[in-house]
Amino acid sequence: MFKFLHHYLIPQTSNNYRARLLHHKILSLFILFFFSAGILMSVTKTNFPEVLGISSDVSIDQLLVLTNQKRQESGLGVLTLDQRLSQAAASKGNDMLAKGYWAHISPDGTTPWVFIKGAGYTYTYAGENLARGYTNSSDVINAWMASDSHRQNMLSGNYANVGFAVVTGSLNGEETVLVIEMLGTTALAATPSNTQNEGITEVAQASSEETTPQTPVISQEENKEKIKVEEEEVKKTIASKPAPEIRPLINAETFSSNLAQIAITIFMFVFILDMVIIERKKILRFVGHNLDHIMFLGLIFALILVLLKGYII
C-alpha cells in the first residue's frame, strides 16, 4: 500500500520521476470519471429523487428565531409567525418554480402582494425577501443582513408579522432551494407612529438588492380589479399545488462539491510535492510548469465556491 501510494504521489525512478497520478493516462481516467459521474448523477437525480437530490437544513423555526434575534439586537419588537403569510410565501415559491422565474414580480406581472392578499392577509405594509441556493438558516439571515435593502425590510418597525417558506425544486433546469420571507402588518396592528413615518395609504414594498430604486409601490385602489382576478388564480394555485417534500438520502450539492474539492486538493498537493522534489533533486524533465497547474486548479476551486454560493434579491 505504501509503495503504491509512493508510486502514485511521489516522483521516483519507478514512475519516471513524475508522480503516476500526473501521467496522461491517469489524468484521462479522472476526466472520464468526472464527465461520466456528472451524467450518472444527473440521471439519478431525475429518476430517483429520494436517493439523490437537493436538500437543505433551512428551517422556518430557525429563520423566525434568527430574524427575531436580529430585531431584538436592534431594539425592535419580535415578529409573530403568521400562517397566512407563510402560505403566501409558499405559493410565491411554487409560482416561481412553475413559471421559471427568480424575481419579486413574475414575468406576467404578478406582484408579491397578490399572494399575500390571496392568502387572506389584509396588509397595511408588506415586504418580501428572497434567497436561493443556501443550505442553512443562518447563512440566509446573514446574507439578508449584509444587504441594506433586505436588512431594512427585516429590521423595519412597520412589520408585526412574518411568514416563511422553504421550497425545493427545479428552477429553469437547476435544482435549488428557495427561501421566501413575507413580512406584513394588518390594519389593526399598525401603530400611529408607523403611519406618521410612512404615510397612511396602504403601500407594499419589495426588497431587492439591485433594483431598490424600482421598488414597486402599488396603490391597492388602482389595482383592485386586477388583484381580485389574480387572487383567484393564486387561491387555485394554493389549492392545486401542495409543495411535495422529498428529502433525498444524499444531498447532491454537498456530495459533488466535496468530491470535486477533495480531488482538486489531492491534485494540487501532488503537483506541489512533485515540484518541490524535482527542484531539490535538480532533475531535468520536459513537462509543463507545475506552478501553472497549481494556479489553475486553485481557480477551479474558487469557481466551485462561486457556483455554489447562494443569492438574494
Partner: protein
C-alpha cells in the same frame, strides 16, 4: 519556484489577469447559469492557450507538454461539468 515566478513575471501577470477576469465575470453572471458556463469555458480555453504559448515563446514546447495543458484544462472542465450536472 519564486525564481521561476520572477523570471516569468509578465506571463504570470497575464495569467492572473485571465483568472481574475474569469472569476469576476462568473460572479457577475450569476444566477445566469448559461453565461457562467460560457465565462468558465472561455477562462479554461485561455489558460490552455496561455500555457502552450508560454512554452512556445520560451522554445520548450513539445507534443507532450501541449497534451498536458489540454488534459489539465479538460480536468478542470470535467470537474465543473460534474458540479453543474450533478450538484446544482
Amino acid at each position: 519556484m519564486t525564481k521561476k515566478l520572477f523570471k516569468h513575471l509578465n506571463y504570470y501577470l497575464m495569467l492572473w489577469i485571465i483568472f481574475s477576469v474569469g472569476v469576476i465575470t462568473t460572479v457577475f453572471a450569476s444566477p445566469n447559469r448559461n453565461l457562467q458556463i460560457f465565462t468558465i469555458i472561455t477562462t479554461i480555453i485561455l489558460y490552455v492557450i496561455w500555457g502552450i504559448l508560454h512554452h512556445k515563446i520560451n522554445h520548450e514546447l513539445t507534443r507532450k507538454i501541449t497534451i498536458e495543458y489540454l488534459l489539465i484544462g479538460l480536468l478542470g472542465l470535467s470537474i465543473i461539468f460534474f458540479i453543474f450536472t450533478g450538484g446544482i
